[in-house]
């Protein structure tokens, strides 16, 4: 089947391909500079600002937005919402790609990437939240790979291996949810060690819980968001089931996201009360905090609700974009904007253009990989030979 589907006779010189090619070229040049000149050659990192865009965006945002995989498979397999089934595979694919890219991007950020396995094979730093994150991300990437592997196995026609993977679905799903709970929350917990550097409005002993809950929001919203994009660009790759179920998925996930956003808003307020941070709300930081909480938590919560009540898919799809932006904003606020808030502006960090270029490069690699996979493998449609088995 793949042969017939790949026979898309399109010129290689589409505007998209040209832009992507340029980005890749620039990315490769910067890659060479990074690994020959050191971090200093391509970044604005400093002794005051050891973590920049590559952690704030590539790691924190990347992992949060890849949460769709565990959220969807949990909804479908654990909570038994079978009508979301067609959303599982695309979500797991994006999850897998997302995590793979996070790990890929980390190789740029850490000083000696070839030592990344050291915490697990040489000397575990068990008191570090980063160790926890690393262990879970590594394990979860493996889990996602196995879960996702049913698609390439179908593509390649390895029936036995594929059936084994499908048999393991339940165990993998539960393991995936456990690991996701842990590392999503631990990413927030990374900042627990630095109460003196993160602005009190963002620092909270609830940080791990905030990160976990908001990762659910990110996961749900990303599934809606991606499916609307996929609809626009890969419509021909979808089977009937997928097309039919997408609207249901958007409605169901929109409802869930609205509810979770509501809970998230509540615990944010509780966090303010617990640390007695009300008085900061009247400062400039407070205004920015309110922009985040009102504009990117409360507003999408309300808009999702409206969309769900009126069964208006357009509202839901647009809101998913807003909610995703909200998560991005939150992660960047914590890692870059409100971090080191106490330093004079001359010591603050702003990403070097080459850091931004590498982040764009990584995202582009992701989009290209996604495009390759959905045009070749049974992601948005069920493989004709395996229809029964789901």
């Amino acid at each position: 089947m793949s042969a017939s589907r790949t026979a898309v006779s399109r010129s290689l010189l589409t505007p998209f391909n040209i832009v992507a090619g340029l980005i890749l070229a620039v990315g490769l040049v910067i890659t060479v500079m990074r690994f020959t000149g050191g971090l200093g050659a391509v970044t604005n990192l400093s002794d005051y600002n050891p973590w920049g865009l590559w952690i704030g965006f590539d790691l924190l945002v990347g992992v949060a937005l890849a949460a769709g995989g565990y959220v969807t498979s949990a909804a479908c397999y654990i909570f038994g919402l079978k009508r979301f089934h067609s959303a599982v595979r695309p979500a797991i694919l994006t999850g897998f790609l997302g995590y793979a890219l996070v790990v890929f991007a980390l190789h740029y950020d850490v000083g000696r990437p070839w030592r990344l396995p050291y915490p697990f094979i040489v000397q575990p730093g068990t008191t570090s939240l980063l160790f926890e994150v690393g262990a879970c991300v590594a394990l979860y990437l493996t889990v996602l790979f196995i879960e996702y592997s049913s698609a390439p196995l179908e593509w390649l026609g390895f029936r036995k291996a594929r059936n084994l993977v499908v048999r393991l679905t339940m165990v993998l799903t539960i393991l995936g949810v456990v690991l996701s709970t842990l590392h999503q929350s631990s990413l927030g917990a990374l900042y627990l060690i630095a109460p003196s550097k993160l602005h009190p409005l963002w620092y909270s002993s609830y940080l791990p819980i905030y990160f976990f809950v908001s990762s659910i929001i990110a996961g749900l919203s990303m599934v809606i968001f991606e499916s609307s994009l996929a609809h626009r660009y890969f419509h021909d790759k979808m089977d009937e089931t997928h097309r039919r179920e997408t609207d249901g998925v958007a409605l169901g996930f929109g409802k869930a996201a609205s509810l979770v956003l509501f809970g998230y808003l509540l615990i944010k307020v509780i966090g303010l009360a617990v640390d007695n941070n009300w008085h900061y709300l009247t400062t400039g930081w407070g205004a920015w905090y309110l922009v985040e909480v009102l504009g990117f938590v409360a507003l999408p919560c309300y808009l999702y609700a409206v969309g769900v009540r009126e069964k208006n898919l357009t509202i839901i799809r647009r809101t998913s974009g807003l909610a995703v932006l909200g998560i991005v904003l939150n992660r960047l606020n914590i890692s870059l904007v409100a971090f080191n808030y106490h330093l004079p502006s001359s010591e603050r960090y702003f990403p070097h253009w080459m850091e931004i270029a590498i982040s764009v490069f990584v995202v582009t690699v992701g989009i290209l990989a996604y495009r390759f996979i959905v045009t070749h493998m049974p992601i948005l449609y069920e493989h004709p030979e395996y229809k029964d088995a789901h």
């Binding site: 990437p113 570090s128 949810v177 627990l192």
Partner: protein
Amino acid sequence: MSISRRKFLGWMGAAGLGVTAGTKARAASNAHFEGYPNSLAVLHDTTRCVGCRRCEAGCNKVNDLPAPATPFDDLTVLDRKRRTDAESYTIVNRYGAGGEGQAPLFRKNQCNHCLEPACASACFVAAFHKTPEGAVVYDASVCVGCRYCMIACPFEIPTYEYDKALAPRVMKCTMCHPRVLEGKLPGCVEACPVEALSFGSREEMLKIARERIRKQPERYVDHIYGENEMGGTSWLYLAGVPFRELGMREDLGVTPAPKLTSGALGAVPIVVGLWPVLLTGIYAVSKRKDKIAEEEKRQAVAQAVEAADQKAAEAMAKAREKAEKEKTGAIDKAVKEALAEAERKAQEEAAKAAAEAAAPTDDTAEGPEGTTPPAPSDPKPTEEDA
């Protein structure tokens, strides 16, 4: 815990030690950790510091650091605030020199060698550790370069060799650990010409500091910075002005760094322990629900079918009766109609034949024969309504 023990503490090491060390630390969950007894510390009396930068020079020398851009006797560098960087473990800054007749204040900055180091707590390869001697030392041979230690350190001390491509290291003061093991003084302490730095056991340094405050209360603020900050440090400070005026943070609190993360770390195994149970439970329940729903559906269908069967039987009987009637009715009707038709046609034909008898040309025989149906038995009069 010695270096060697920690070094070999791999996964298996940790498992093996569970047997030996576990018993001794039985009551440790609510225990209070006092730090290593007789560990060493430096006391920096900022009221004595003259900002000569000799400590910087001494440190540079004993640690074989690269020569600085401006020589150590050039005091103009004091005009701007500096921080530790990859080529200097320690820095002296000038503070508060403004008012007329007011002597400028100086403070030396370097790693404070926390009793509970945030950098060690944060490092995911355990590259840092607190030695029994007091120094917090770093092991570049395992460092991955994630720089989380730099995020964690509340004193913003560790620095990174951002310009090295192949083997960048975290750089920070070592409290001259190798020298101290040899019985020598730290390089900076040795170099200080005015004894603004003293070195000895931490207890002793605290005693000296208290003594100085007691003897000259007008000279010192009544606080020893580092006694409790972030759980206490092995570098202690005395000052004549509030410490914030020396660029030191007074809002760090006294919570040791590992305590900040212990809650989150403690939740991890609980999630691992309970989540699978919870999730499998939810799975089983939703499965069960599905099954029950299915079962109920099946039963309902079965009942409905049964009931329907009975009704259907009755209905069928009726229907059959009715159908019978209808059928006969329909047949009768059809027969009647057919007869009427035949009759009509026969008459027509007869008339036609009679009319054409005068001029016999066409084949007239077929018509009446073909259309005349075989005469049925007696037509019964029946009702027509359905």
